[in-house]
Subunit: 187 residues, 2 copies
DNA sequence: GTCTATATGCGGATAGAC
DNA sequence: GTCTATCCGCATATAGAC
Protein backbone atom coordinates (compact mmCIF):
# COMPACT_ATOMS: atom_id res chain seq x y z
CA UNK A 1 0.00 0.00 0.00
CA UNK A 2 1.52 3.28 -1.07
CA UNK A 3 -0.54 5.11 1.55
CA UNK A 4 -0.56 3.41 4.95
CA UNK A 5 -3.29 4.61 7.27
CA UNK A 6 -2.21 7.66 9.25
CA UNK A 7 -5.36 7.86 11.28
CA UNK A 8 -8.51 5.97 12.24
CA UNK A 9 -12.04 6.67 13.39
CA UNK A 10 -11.05 6.85 17.02
CA UNK A 11 -8.31 9.41 16.53
CA UNK A 12 -10.69 11.53 14.52
CA UNK A 13 -13.32 11.23 17.20
CA UNK A 14 -10.85 12.26 19.89
CA UNK A 15 -9.64 15.25 17.94
CA UNK A 16 -13.22 16.30 17.31
CA UNK A 17 -13.98 15.93 20.98
CA UNK A 18 -11.09 18.21 21.88
CA UNK A 19 -12.39 20.85 19.52
CA UNK A 20 -15.89 20.44 20.88
CA UNK A 21 -14.63 20.98 24.42
CA UNK A 22 -12.45 23.90 23.49
CA UNK A 23 -14.72 25.78 21.09
CA UNK A 24 -18.20 24.32 21.26
CA UNK A 25 -20.16 22.67 18.53
CA UNK A 26 -19.30 25.36 16.02
CA UNK A 27 -15.65 24.54 16.52
CA UNK A 28 -16.05 21.02 15.22
CA UNK A 29 -15.43 21.33 11.49
CA UNK A 30 -13.98 18.86 9.03
CA UNK A 31 -11.20 21.29 8.30
CA UNK A 32 -10.45 21.94 11.95
CA UNK A 33 -10.29 18.29 12.87
CA UNK A 34 -8.10 17.53 9.89
CA UNK A 35 -5.75 20.36 10.75
CA UNK A 36 -5.36 19.09 14.27
CA UNK A 37 -4.46 15.65 12.95
CA UNK A 38 -2.13 17.20 10.36
CA UNK A 39 -4.14 15.74 7.56
CA UNK A 40 -6.06 17.24 4.71
CA UNK A 41 -9.80 17.54 5.22
CA UNK A 42 -10.44 14.97 2.59
CA UNK A 43 -8.82 12.16 4.55
CA UNK A 44 -11.64 12.19 7.10
CA UNK A 45 -14.27 11.19 4.57
CA UNK A 46 -12.86 7.67 4.57
CA UNK A 47 -14.03 7.32 8.15
CA UNK A 48 -17.08 9.49 8.39
CA UNK A 49 -19.64 9.88 5.69
CA UNK A 50 -20.12 13.57 6.31
CA UNK A 51 -20.02 16.26 8.94
CA UNK A 52 -23.26 15.21 10.60
CA UNK A 53 -22.05 11.65 10.99
CA UNK A 54 -19.06 12.92 12.93
CA UNK A 55 -21.26 15.01 15.21
CA UNK A 56 -23.60 12.08 15.73
CA UNK A 57 -20.66 9.91 16.71
CA UNK A 58 -19.67 12.40 19.39
CA UNK A 59 -23.23 12.69 20.58
CA UNK A 60 -23.92 8.99 20.93
CA UNK A 61 -20.59 8.42 22.58
CA UNK A 62 -21.43 11.19 25.03
CA UNK A 63 -24.79 9.66 25.77
CA UNK A 64 -23.09 6.36 26.52
CA UNK A 65 -20.67 8.04 28.89
CA UNK A 66 -23.51 9.82 30.65
CA UNK A 67 -25.39 6.58 31.17
CA UNK A 68 -22.24 4.95 32.48
CA UNK A 69 -21.69 7.72 35.01
CA UNK A 70 -25.27 7.57 36.18
CA UNK A 71 -25.05 3.82 36.64
CA UNK A 72 -21.84 4.18 38.60
CA UNK A 73 -23.40 6.83 40.82
CA UNK A 74 -26.51 4.75 41.46
CA UNK A 75 -24.47 1.78 42.62
CA UNK A 76 -22.97 3.66 45.51
CA UNK A 77 -26.27 4.26 47.24
CA UNK A 78 -29.69 2.80 47.73
CA UNK A 79 -33.22 4.08 48.00
CA UNK A 80 -33.71 7.80 47.72
CA UNK A 81 -30.02 8.41 48.19
CA UNK A 82 -29.52 6.62 44.92
CA UNK A 83 -31.74 9.14 43.14
CA UNK A 84 -29.87 12.02 44.71
CA UNK A 85 -26.60 10.51 43.58
CA UNK A 86 -27.93 10.14 40.05
CA UNK A 87 -29.07 13.75 40.06
CA UNK A 88 -25.68 14.96 41.22
CA UNK A 89 -23.90 12.85 38.63
CA UNK A 90 -26.19 14.12 35.90
CA UNK A 91 -25.50 17.72 36.77
CA UNK A 92 -21.79 17.11 37.17
CA UNK A 93 -21.57 15.54 33.73
CA UNK A 94 -23.45 18.39 32.11
CA UNK A 95 -21.33 21.01 33.83
CA UNK A 96 -18.05 19.30 33.03
CA UNK A 97 -18.96 18.53 29.42
CA UNK A 98 -21.26 21.39 28.53
CA UNK A 99 -20.97 21.31 24.78
CA UNK A 100 -21.05 17.52 24.65
CA UNK A 101 -24.15 17.47 26.82
CA UNK A 102 -25.97 19.91 24.55
CA UNK A 103 -24.95 17.82 21.58
CA UNK A 104 -26.08 14.49 23.01
CA UNK A 105 -29.49 15.93 23.81
CA UNK A 106 -30.03 16.65 20.13
CA UNK A 107 -31.72 13.38 19.49
CA UNK A 108 -32.40 14.16 15.84
CA UNK A 109 -28.75 13.75 14.98
CA UNK A 110 -28.83 10.07 15.86
CA UNK A 111 -29.17 7.15 13.52
CA UNK A 112 -31.85 4.65 14.52
CA UNK A 113 -29.10 2.46 15.94
CA UNK A 114 -27.49 5.24 17.93
CA UNK A 115 -30.88 6.28 19.18
CA UNK A 116 -31.09 3.16 21.27
CA UNK A 117 -28.78 4.67 23.83
CA UNK A 118 -31.52 7.16 24.54
CA UNK A 119 -33.91 4.34 25.25
CA UNK A 120 -31.38 2.79 27.58
CA UNK A 121 -31.01 6.05 29.47
CA UNK A 122 -34.74 6.34 29.84
CA UNK A 123 -35.17 2.76 31.05
CA UNK A 124 -32.41 3.21 33.57
CA UNK A 125 -33.87 6.35 35.09
CA UNK A 126 -37.35 4.90 35.10
CA UNK A 127 -36.24 1.74 36.86
CA UNK A 128 -34.31 3.63 39.47
CA UNK A 129 -37.26 5.87 40.16
CA UNK A 130 -39.57 2.88 40.33
CA UNK A 131 -37.74 1.70 43.43
CA UNK A 132 -38.65 4.77 45.45
CA UNK A 133 -41.84 5.81 43.75
CA UNK A 134 -43.52 2.71 42.33
CA UNK A 135 -47.08 3.83 41.71
CA UNK A 136 -46.30 6.44 39.10
CA UNK A 137 -42.69 5.84 38.23
CA UNK A 138 -43.01 7.09 34.67
CA UNK A 139 -44.51 10.43 35.58
CA UNK A 140 -41.92 10.94 38.31
CA UNK A 141 -39.06 9.95 36.02
CA UNK A 142 -40.20 12.34 33.30
CA UNK A 143 -40.49 15.20 35.76
CA UNK A 144 -37.15 14.38 37.31
CA UNK A 145 -35.42 14.30 33.95
CA UNK A 146 -37.11 17.51 32.92
CA UNK A 147 -36.09 19.21 36.12
CA UNK A 148 -32.47 18.17 35.83
CA UNK A 149 -32.29 19.07 32.17
CA UNK A 150 -33.81 22.45 32.91
CA UNK A 151 -31.49 23.25 35.77
CA UNK A 152 -28.58 22.44 33.50
CA UNK A 153 -30.02 24.76 30.88
CA UNK A 154 -30.49 27.65 33.28
CA UNK A 155 -26.98 27.15 34.54
CA UNK A 156 -25.47 27.07 31.06
CA UNK A 157 -27.45 30.13 30.04
CA UNK A 158 -25.88 31.88 32.99
CA UNK A 159 -29.30 32.94 34.19
CA UNK A 160 -28.12 33.00 37.78
CA UNK A 161 -24.95 34.88 37.24
CA UNK A 162 -25.55 37.52 39.85
CA UNK A 163 -28.20 38.57 42.28
CA UNK A 164 -30.05 35.34 41.89
CA UNK A 165 -29.81 32.30 44.09
CA UNK A 166 -28.19 29.10 43.02
CA UNK A 167 -29.58 26.65 45.50
CA UNK A 168 -28.49 23.52 43.72
CA UNK A 169 -30.69 20.68 42.57
CA UNK A 170 -30.97 18.68 45.76
CA UNK A 171 -33.92 20.58 47.27
CA UNK A 172 -35.81 20.35 43.99
CA UNK A 173 -35.26 16.63 43.67
CA UNK A 174 -36.35 16.06 47.24
CA UNK A 175 -39.44 18.15 46.75
CA UNK A 176 -40.30 16.37 43.54
CA UNK A 177 -40.04 12.92 45.10
CA UNK A 178 -41.85 13.92 48.27
CA UNK A 179 -44.56 15.70 46.36
CA UNK A 180 -45.28 12.78 44.07
CA UNK A 181 -45.25 10.31 46.91
CA UNK A 182 -47.72 12.24 49.02
CA UNK A 183 -49.98 12.58 46.01
CA UNK A 184 -49.83 8.84 45.55
CA UNK A 185 -50.90 8.27 49.13
CA UNK A 186 -53.76 10.70 48.90
CA UNK A 187 -55.35 8.90 46.00
CA UNK B 1 -33.83 63.49 0.18
CA UNK B 2 -33.13 61.44 -2.88
CA UNK B 3 -33.64 58.23 -0.93
CA UNK B 4 -36.73 58.29 1.24
CA UNK B 5 -36.87 55.61 3.92
CA UNK B 6 -38.27 52.38 2.54
CA UNK B 7 -38.15 50.56 5.80
CA UNK B 8 -37.67 50.99 9.53
CA UNK B 9 -36.51 49.05 12.55
CA UNK B 10 -39.92 47.54 13.16
CA UNK B 11 -40.37 46.20 9.65
CA UNK B 12 -36.95 44.67 9.81
CA UNK B 13 -37.73 43.11 13.15
CA UNK B 14 -40.98 41.66 11.84
CA UNK B 15 -39.35 40.22 8.76
CA UNK B 16 -36.63 38.70 10.92
CA UNK B 17 -39.25 37.23 13.20
CA UNK B 18 -40.97 35.56 10.26
CA UNK B 19 -37.72 34.00 9.18
CA UNK B 20 -37.02 32.89 12.73
CA UNK B 21 -40.39 31.19 12.94
CA UNK B 22 -40.10 29.60 9.54
CA UNK B 23 -36.48 28.49 9.55
CA UNK B 24 -35.09 28.81 13.02
CA UNK B 25 -32.24 30.94 14.21
CA UNK B 26 -30.05 29.91 11.32
CA UNK B 27 -32.64 31.31 8.96
CA UNK B 28 -32.22 34.82 10.27
CA UNK B 29 -29.50 36.32 8.11
CA UNK B 30 -28.89 39.88 7.02
CA UNK B 31 -29.23 38.82 3.43
CA UNK B 32 -32.38 36.83 4.03
CA UNK B 33 -34.14 39.61 5.88
CA UNK B 34 -33.15 42.12 3.24
CA UNK B 35 -34.41 39.87 0.49
CA UNK B 36 -37.77 39.52 2.16
CA UNK B 37 -38.05 43.29 2.40
CA UNK B 38 -36.85 43.66 -1.20
CA UNK B 39 -33.89 45.68 -0.10
CA UNK B 40 -30.20 45.17 -0.39
CA UNK B 41 -28.48 43.74 2.67
CA UNK B 42 -26.66 46.98 3.23
CA UNK B 43 -29.83 48.92 3.98
CA UNK B 44 -30.31 47.09 7.26
CA UNK B 45 -27.13 48.42 8.77
CA UNK B 46 -28.77 51.82 9.16
CA UNK B 47 -31.09 50.26 11.73
CA UNK B 48 -29.06 47.52 13.33
CA UNK B 49 -25.42 47.75 14.10
CA UNK B 50 -24.75 44.17 13.11
CA UNK B 51 -26.24 40.70 12.95
CA UNK B 52 -26.06 40.09 16.68
CA UNK B 53 -27.91 43.30 17.42
CA UNK B 54 -30.78 42.09 15.28
CA UNK B 55 -30.89 38.75 17.06
CA UNK B 56 -30.75 40.49 20.43
CA UNK B 57 -33.68 42.65 19.42
CA UNK B 58 -35.76 39.57 18.64
CA UNK B 59 -34.68 37.92 21.85
CA UNK B 60 -35.51 40.78 24.16
CA UNK B 61 -38.81 41.39 22.42
CA UNK B 62 -39.61 37.71 22.89
CA UNK B 63 -38.75 37.89 26.58
CA UNK B 64 -41.11 40.82 26.94
CA UNK B 65 -43.90 38.91 25.25
CA UNK B 66 -43.32 35.92 27.46
CA UNK B 67 -43.52 38.04 30.59
CA UNK B 68 -46.69 39.65 29.31
CA UNK B 69 -48.32 36.29 28.71
CA UNK B 70 -47.33 35.02 32.13
CA UNK B 71 -48.77 38.12 33.76
CA UNK B 72 -52.00 37.73 31.86
CA UNK B 73 -52.27 34.09 32.86
CA UNK B 74 -51.60 34.85 36.52
CA UNK B 75 -54.37 37.42 36.65
CA UNK B 76 -57.05 34.89 35.83
CA UNK B 77 -56.47 32.81 38.93
CA UNK B 78 -55.35 33.02 42.51
CA UNK B 79 -53.33 30.94 44.90
CA UNK B 80 -51.89 27.74 43.58
CA UNK B 81 -54.12 27.89 40.54
CA UNK B 82 -52.23 31.00 39.55
CA UNK B 83 -48.98 29.05 39.51
CA UNK B 84 -50.56 26.33 37.40
CA UNK B 85 -51.81 28.93 34.98
CA UNK B 86 -48.34 30.46 34.73
CA UNK B 87 -46.83 27.06 34.10
CA UNK B 88 -49.31 26.32 31.34
CA UNK B 89 -48.73 29.71 29.76
CA UNK B 90 -44.98 29.24 29.91
CA UNK B 91 -45.17 25.92 28.17
CA UNK B 92 -47.65 27.19 25.61
CA UNK B 93 -45.42 30.11 24.70
CA UNK B 94 -42.37 27.90 24.29
CA UNK B 95 -44.27 25.40 22.18
CA UNK B 96 -45.85 28.03 19.95
CA UNK B 97 -42.66 30.05 19.54
CA UNK B 98 -39.99 27.40 19.74
CA UNK B 99 -37.15 29.18 18.02
CA UNK B 100 -37.95 32.49 19.68
CA UNK B 101 -37.99 30.82 23.07
CA UNK B 102 -34.60 29.27 22.53
CA UNK B 103 -33.29 32.63 21.42
CA UNK B 104 -34.64 34.59 24.35
CA UNK B 105 -33.05 32.15 26.77
CA UNK B 106 -29.63 33.01 25.38
CA UNK B 107 -28.99 35.70 27.89
CA UNK B 108 -25.52 36.45 26.59
CA UNK B 109 -26.96 38.09 23.51
CA UNK B 110 -28.51 40.86 25.54
CA UNK B 111 -27.17 44.32 26.12
CA UNK B 112 -27.14 45.39 29.76
CA UNK B 113 -30.28 47.35 29.11
CA UNK B 114 -32.08 44.47 27.43
CA UNK B 115 -30.97 42.18 30.19
CA UNK B 116 -33.31 43.93 32.58
CA UNK B 117 -36.26 42.07 31.12
CA UNK B 118 -34.70 38.94 32.50
CA UNK B 119 -34.66 40.45 35.94
CA UNK B 120 -38.30 41.41 35.56
CA UNK B 121 -39.21 37.85 34.62
CA UNK B 122 -37.40 36.52 37.62
CA UNK B 123 -38.99 38.99 40.02
CA UNK B 124 -42.41 38.19 38.67
CA UNK B 125 -42.06 34.45 39.10
CA UNK B 126 -40.51 34.83 42.51
CA UNK B 127 -43.32 37.09 43.73
CA UNK B 128 -46.00 34.78 42.45
CA UNK B 129 -44.38 31.81 44.11
CA UNK B 130 -44.00 33.77 47.34
CA UNK B 131 -47.78 33.88 47.67
CA UNK B 132 -48.13 30.13 47.88
CA UNK B 133 -44.76 29.17 49.29
CA UNK B 134 -43.47 32.07 51.35
CA UNK B 135 -40.76 30.51 53.49
CA UNK B 136 -38.45 29.55 50.65
CA UNK B 137 -39.87 31.35 47.67
CA UNK B 138 -36.54 31.75 45.91
CA UNK B 139 -35.63 28.10 46.04
CA UNK B 140 -39.09 27.10 44.88
CA UNK B 141 -39.07 29.63 42.08
CA UNK B 142 -35.69 28.48 40.83
CA UNK B 143 -36.80 24.87 40.83
CA UNK B 144 -40.06 25.71 39.15
CA UNK B 145 -38.34 27.68 36.41
CA UNK B 146 -35.80 24.93 35.95
CA UNK B 147 -38.50 22.31 35.73
CA UNK B 148 -40.50 24.23 33.15
CA UNK B 149 -37.43 25.08 31.10
CA UNK B 150 -36.38 21.47 31.16
CA UNK B 151 -39.74 20.11 30.12
CA UNK B 152 -39.70 22.52 27.21
CA UNK B 153 -36.27 21.30 26.28
CA UNK B 154 -37.21 17.62 26.39
CA UNK B 155 -40.25 18.38 24.30
CA UNK B 156 -38.30 20.33 21.72
CA UNK B 157 -35.65 17.63 21.54
CA UNK B 158 -38.42 15.21 20.75
CA UNK B 159 -37.28 12.95 23.53
CA UNK B 160 -40.78 11.62 24.05
CA UNK B 161 -41.61 10.98 20.46
CA UNK B 162 -42.74 7.41 20.88
CA UNK B 163 -43.01 4.79 23.55
CA UNK B 164 -42.46 7.34 26.23
CA UNK B 165 -45.07 9.07 28.27
CA UNK B 166 -45.89 12.71 27.96
CA UNK B 167 -47.76 13.41 31.13
CA UNK B 168 -47.68 17.17 30.88
CA UNK B 169 -46.26 19.57 33.42
CA UNK B 170 -49.15 19.84 35.83
CA UNK B 171 -48.26 16.81 37.97
CA UNK B 172 -44.68 17.97 38.24
CA UNK B 173 -45.63 21.48 39.29
CA UNK B 174 -48.04 20.12 41.88
CA UNK B 175 -45.44 17.77 43.24
CA UNK B 176 -42.83 20.50 43.38
CA UNK B 177 -45.08 22.88 45.32
CA UNK B 178 -46.38 20.19 47.65
CA UNK B 179 -42.93 18.82 48.23
CA UNK B 180 -41.42 22.15 49.14
CA UNK B 181 -44.33 23.07 51.35
CA UNK B 182 -44.20 19.87 53.36
CA UNK B 183 -40.48 20.34 53.80
CA UNK B 184 -41.14 23.81 55.09
CA UNK B 185 -43.57 22.51 57.65
CA UNK B 186 -41.23 19.79 58.84
CA UNK B 187 -38.50 22.24 59.68
C1' DG C 1 -5.56 6.05 2.25
C1' DT C 2 -4.12 10.44 1.35
C1' DC C 3 -3.07 13.92 -1.57
C1' DT C 4 -3.85 18.41 -4.69
C1' DA C 5 -7.07 21.08 -6.79
C1' DT C 6 -11.34 22.84 -7.21
C1' DA C 7 -16.43 23.52 -7.45
C1' DT C 8 -19.86 25.59 -4.89
C1' DG C 9 -22.11 27.75 -1.51
C1' DC C 10 -23.16 30.65 2.54
C1' DG C 11 -22.51 34.50 5.31
C1' DG C 12 -20.97 39.31 7.46
C1' DA C 13 -19.35 43.55 6.60
C1' DT C 14 -17.29 47.85 4.21
C1' DA C 15 -16.38 51.69 0.54
C1' DG C 16 -18.14 54.93 -2.03
C1' DA C 17 -21.61 56.61 -5.52
C1' DC C 18 -26.16 58.84 -5.85
C1' DG D 1 -31.25 56.00 3.10
C1' DT D 2 -30.30 52.95 -0.34
C1' DC D 3 -27.71 51.46 -3.92
C1' DT D 4 -23.72 48.75 -6.56
C1' DA D 5 -19.64 46.49 -6.14
C1' DT D 6 -16.59 44.02 -3.61
C1' DC D 7 -13.64 41.91 -0.10
C1' DC D 8 -13.22 38.47 2.97
C1' DG D 9 -13.74 34.44 5.40
C1' DC D 10 -15.85 30.22 6.51
C1' DA D 11 -17.50 25.83 5.33
C1' DT D 12 -18.99 21.08 2.86
C1' DA D 13 -17.99 18.18 -0.49
C1' DT D 14 -16.20 15.99 -4.99
C1' DA D 15 -12.79 14.50 -8.85
C1' DG D 16 -8.96 12.39 -9.92
C1' DA D 17 -3.86 11.65 -9.34
C1' DC D 18 -0.47 8.81 -6.75
Amino acid sequence: MPYPAQTDAEQIRNAALELLTASGEGGVTIRGVAKQLRLTPNALYRYYRDHDALLAELASMGAGQLLQQLEAAAKTKSGRESIYAIADAYLAFAVEHGALYRLLMRKHLFTPEQEQIFGALWVFVKNEVAVVSPPQAEAVAVSLWGFLHGMVGLEQADVFHEGKPNVGVRPGVEALLSGFNSQGQLR
